[in-house]
Symmetry: C2
Subunit: 246 residues, 2 copies
């Protein structure tokens, strides 16, 4: 069933406008009586059915509330240094399916792509849209935010409150599992480098800001693979994705 | 450093021919003295340097042996039902980075793509090539095999010796972590359905063949995401990808 996120709270009747209405009316060509899942601003979910069409909006009526806990028991922020090409599109989609809370696109020394201010904004909007589509598709009750493209230094200055870690290739570092066993935090932040990795100066700066360097095994993971593995494992260890709740 | 797999054992001097030689000579335009990593049929690794060029081959001499354990402590087979489009290319690449031992492309009732015998063979060859490239890139010492496209029934009849599980959406099944905690096997097999999932009859057949149905959490994962999460978690739990060795 199609899933719609609304900005208000559930009510007996609700109006849906904007791109969602356009999509339902003109792409899906929905008919009166068709059922839709509506998720409200407080993550409440209801099964609804279409009871009226306007020129650019439609009205649905609430049939029943649905109890569904699809969110992970922890919040994980992905701090993803900008990868080449359109890999970020892929990372955003998969991270949302895996259960990420928010995504910060990060600029670090070895990032190959350079965006000017206009392009940064355009990309952020595009990634936000991908995140919203993925949230609908996989049955989430929040729409994870993709924040503005931010420089590494600024990201590091705003990490407070999160247990943060980065995967640093080649270092004889702590296995990720040891780090996760020690950290009973509710908020985690995962920092993933670009294709060229981090410079030694960047690694030192991250460590000064409390980011723990950990290892994810002996093979060289591409940046997009590293993000997905790190997210899968932290969410799993903390009781999501088939891990036992702790 | 470029990584080459050879079919023989390491020797003081070795000849490299075929597509590897072509790639090194005409694409990378390597020069005399350039260093290459050579991995032999017994997973032994050496740093070598190019000491001579022929018309369609080159000769390298062994500089030193390298000790590198980049393989996971368990063997995992991915039984991947054929997904739509070119998603299988992506799954093969990522599965090899994650540490899979072999991949079996599986035909099940809800697979949308239908390949005739010629296309099956062509695809298998293409996926094998992707697997080999990924193995070189991420520093593995084996080249995981992509087997022939096989029907689900036949796959199930050949599972003996592996602890096998499938992710079955919606079932009130055992969390993946409980399953992994019980199974001290050295060989695992992960069965992942196509976009449309498995039919109830297929699930029953899988269970009859000893495949455990497990849950990977409350969200709906796309087929390619489910594969990567399942592989990440089983390898992690068994001491790879930053998991503690058991």
């Amino acid at each position: 069933m199609r899933r719609i996120f609304i900005k208000d709270l559930l009510a007996e009747e609700m109006t849906i406008a904007g791109t969602d209405a356009h999509h339902i009316m003109h792409v899906l060509r929905a008919k009166l009586g068709q059922k839709l899942i509506v998720v409200d601003a407080a993550q409440q979910i209801a099964e609804t059915e279409i009871c009226a069409f306007g020129t650019d909006h439609l009205t649905v009526k609430c049939l029943r509330r649905i109890e569904a806990a699809t969110e992970a028991p922890i919040e994980v922020t992905l701090l993803q240094c900008l990868p080449k090409g359109d890999k970020m599109d892929f990372i955003v989609q998969k991270a949302v399916e895996l259960g990420v809370s928010q995504i910060v696109p990060v600029v670090s020394a070895n990032c190959v792509v350079k965006y000017d201010a206009a392009k940064r904004l355009a990309r952020q909007k595009k990634w936000q849209k991908i995140a919203e589509e993925a949230a609908k598709q996989c049955g989430r009750t929040i729409q994870p935010a993709v924040l503005a493209v931010t420089n590494l230094k600024e990201v590091l200055e705003n990490l407070e409150g999160s247990a943060s870690f980065m995967c640093y290739e080649g270092a004889a570092d702590e296995p990720l599992q040891d780090f996760l066993a020690k950290k009973q935090a509710k908020c985690f932040a995962v920092l993933i480098g670009p294709e060229g990795g981090f410079t030694p100066a960047e690694v030192a700066l991250c460590q000064q800001h409390g980011v723990q360097t950990v290892t994810m095994g002996p093979r060289i993971l591409r940046t997009e693979t590293a993000s997905l593995v790190a997210l899968s494992i932290v969410l799993y260890e903390k009781g999501d994705l088939g891990g036992r709740s702790k």
